[in-house]
Each structure stands twice: as C-alpha cells, then as structure tokens.
Amino acid sequence: MIWNKKIECASREEIKELQLVKLQKTIKNVFDNVPYYSKKYTEYEIYPEDIETLKDIEKLPFTTKDDLRESYPFGMFAVDRKKIIEVHSSSGTTGKPVVSGYTSKDIENWGEVIARGLTMMGADDEDIIQNTHGYGLFTGGFGVHYGSHKIGATIIPISTGQSRRQIEIMKDFGTSIMIFTPSYGMYLAELAEEENVDFNNLNLKAIGFGAEIWTDEMRKSIEKRFKAPAYNIYGLTELMGPGVAVECKIQEGLHLQEDFFYPEIIDSESGNTLNEGTEGELVLTNLEREGMPLIRFRTKDITTISYAECECGRNTARIERITGRSDDMIKVKGVAVFPSQIEKALLKIDNIEPHYQIIVTRPHLMDEIEVKVEASQNLFSDDVKEMINIKQKIEDYIFNEIGLRVKVSLVSPKSIPRSEGKAVRVIDKRNLH
C-alpha cells in the first residue's frame, strides 16, 4: 500500500514544480522571520526573488550545526515561541546541543511523513508496533509514535531499556513491528537467544531500524535473528526527526519525502553540488516547516541520490544507505576510516559478534588503531596457534576493508558496553584538539 499516492507517485515534473513553489515560499519566510537568515542573505546579497529555479538554491549559503549552536536555544525559530508546541534536542556530544522546535502543523506533518514510511514497511491499522526508541528529547520515540497514530496502528511506547521486559512484551502482546537502533536490536536478539525465545513463534512481520550507521551484513544478521525483513528509517533532529527517508519493500534505497525536504549531494570539501549517483554529503532544506525551517543544512551524512523510478511504484528520490558521517570519520595516518568499514569486515567472519570498539592512540608520534573484538565460545580454541591465526585473520579482513594494519585484541564476551541508544564505537585518545 502507498500512504499518499498523490505525492509519492507524482511524476518527477510535478514533484519539481511543487518543490519550487514551496522553496520560494520558504526562502521568503526565513528571510522575513529568522534574523539569522536575513542577516546572512543580506551579507551574501541574495534575496528571495533571486530564487527563480530549483537550481538557484545553490546560490544560498549552507546552514551548519555550528550555526544552530550559536542560535541556541530558540534563535532559529521562525514563529513566535507561543506557537511552538514541542521541542526536541539532539545529544550534544560536542559543545551545546541543538534544539528543534515544532508548531502544531509541524507535528501533524511529522506524523504524515512517518505514516508514509511505516506504510512502506507494510504497516497498517492491524499492526502492533513496539517502539524501543527513547521517548524524550531524542526525536526517535515521539516521531514513530505520531506516525503510528496516523496509520491507526497500536503502539507500545516502551522506550529503550527494560530489555527482558521488551522480550516478554514482544511475546505476550504479539508485537508485529519492532522499532530499534541496530545495536539495541542486536542486544535484544542476544538476550532473546539466552532466554531460548523461538522467533518462528513470534508474530513479527517487519522491523524498522535507524539512528545509527549500519551495513548490509548487519541488516542480514538482524533479519536472520528476528526472522523478519528490516527496513531503514533515516532522519535527523534538526530537520524534523526520523522519517525524512525510509526504505520500501524493495530495499534499494530510502524514499525521501520530497514535498517536505529538498535534497542535494555536495562535495564536503568544496561545497559544490554533485550529480545523481555521485557519493557526497547530503544537504537538506525544509520545504514545509513553520517552527524552524532550515535551508541547505549540512547533515554530514555521506550517501548518493537516485531519481530513478522504483519498482514499488513511488517516484520520490531515493538516497542510499548512509555509509558514514563526515564527522564520525576518523583520520588515522592520513587515511579516512569509518567505523562502518570495520564492522563490515567483522561481519564477514564466522563466529564473530559485531560488538567492537575502536581505540585510536598515538603512542610515539604515529597513530595506532586497536580494535577490541569479543571472543565467543565458537571462536575459542584450546590451541594457541589457532587463536593467533583467528586474530590475524580478523586483522587481514580489516586491512582489506580500510587499507591499514590494526591491532586486534580479543576480549571477554559481554565486556564491551552495550548501548541503549547510539553505540559508542570509537574512542580517540590522541588529544588532537
């Protein structure tokens, strides 16, 4: 089923026309109502009337996370604070967090966007959705919640944690759709296996996962363990939250809701716009937001975009799986390394659990990477030579993926902290800042 056929199946021409009208309106709105934008555009000598085509968006400067931090907390709002009925905030790992504000219409639209995504995964009013995303300032919990209400499904707002209870509820309530972050999903699967839960006897029909970088191997592992197809949900607090793009049943890219967000792919270094199919940083513009419209926001997420028709019947643009974040990237010995590459290597080896931690140090002027990997019963051998071989094999697989030699340390099972939100994969001890 398609939730909003009129929009999702509109022709490319219709989508572009609609986007241009909305873009012009949005630029005028921020110029008139957000001091940050009027000041900046005046500086650049660009005015709303200069936006005559979609391509003209490229004349506008980018908005970065730092810009939002400087406007902390409410400086980016385009409406009187009285009209803002809800705020969310992203985890501030560096510096001040970022605040996102929503009017009542914005919340309504957020529900619409998620409703489209849930429908893509095959959800409808028959379903019972167990939402393990945290309810709070994190957008994951409430975003999925509003969308679930919109399609009329039954939502279990369990939030993250109480992991044994999660499994009990999955069985007792007959959960048909699970929503989780990949790392929390893997943790739940481990726990369920410990408790001898037979996934064949559960009612699960789909999984929606998001909020973390993932790999195809990880998806396959989740699907195998939960015995249900898993679909990626992409989003970010600044623009709205989860639902910006979601995978359909074809699982070949995530459909971006183009009547709400205008996507561009740019070269992170030069800022130049790249063509369809070229990998680069995703830049998004809110096309329909009252509370806090953002223009050309640099997501730092690395992906490619495709405008080709999808087998599912939708014509909206699709982005590829996010392969890395330009700021999660660690530069080691001058080489760009993404945690996802290391994960990919680990998942290629039998008997290895994708629980790992990357520790970067600089003991004597040179960078060194240590990857801690949990040993398992199946991997352990009484033979020292064999254990050293396994360690070397892991090191070789990682070398093939990233082109650098790392030191692999086998550690005790369950000794790497499990996340109940976003996993902390990299510990950089180099003090480069």
Partner: protein, 143 residues
C-alpha cells in the same frame, strides 16, 4: 581413558586470572593441575579439576569462555630420566605434542604427566604399545 581438562580464555587484563581461579575456589572445586599458556595478547588457562562439568558451568556464569578439552595422563616414576624416556618414545613414533604439563601425586610419590596431541587416539595407542601406564581420569579427579 581421557581426562577432561578445562581450557579457559583469558583476556589480557589485570585480575582476570584471579577472577577465574576465585570462581573455581568459591565453588569448592579443587584444582589438581594447572598450566597457563600466555601470549602478549591473551592467555589460555588449562586446569584439571575434580568436577569439570561443574567448573565449566560456574565459569560460564561469570562470562568466561570455557571448553572441555580431552587430554591424556600418564604415570612416571618420580626419578631422573622418567620424563625423557616417555618423550623419546613419542619422538620415535612421530607424535607431535601440542603441550604438556606435570604434577606429582603426593600419596604415591609418582609424577603424572598430562599430554595433548592433535591425534589423541594415536597417542594413546602408542603409549599402550610401549606399556606406559595411562592414568584413569577418575583417579586424577579423586586424588
């Protein structure tokens, strides 16, 4: 014929060996013999205890990775040359040992040698052929 040894994976971290041995001790399990193989990265603790199954269970409850590995025990007279005579036989018969360790039996004053080889059955066959006394597992567990 084969003794069930416990092989325990030890992460190279302060206190791990103590934790493993303490788990065994608090479970009232007696260690008959012990050997530690270590590399710069990790260690393998090998122990023969009076109750291998229980020992494994207790260690696994504490998140240790444990394997039960069969090995062979032979009896030596506790006199000079006892060990080398056995090793000579094994060398002559092309048996490569993976590892060995030994302990002395207080009551009988005999030494017991614990052996591991890739082909354990072949090892047993050779030992028997040369009339070397193989120690029954029960005897080791119940020392």
């Amino acid at each position: 014929m084969k003794i069930n040894q416990l092989s325990i994976f030890l992460e190279n971290q302060k206190g791990r060996l103590w934790e493993a041995l303490n788990t065994i001790a608090t479970g009232k399990i007696n260690i008959r013999a012990l050997s530690l193989a270590d590399t710069s990265e990790f260690g393998i603790l090998r122990i023969v205890v009076n109750d291998p199954e229980k020992g494994k269970k207790l260690l696994e409850e504490k998140q240790f990775i444990v394997k039960i590995t069969p090995i062979v025990g032979v009896e030596l007279s506790d006199t000079p040359g006892g060990l080398s005579s056995v090793l000579k036989i094994l060398t002559d018969n092309n048996i490569n040992l993976e590892y060995l360790y030994a302990f002395t039996h207080e009551k009988t004053e005999k030494a017991i040698l614990l052996l591991q080889a890739k082909d354990l059955d072949l090892l047993i066959k050779i030992l028997k052929k040369h009339e070397i006394a193989i120690v029954p597992p029960e005897e080791v567990y119940n020392l």
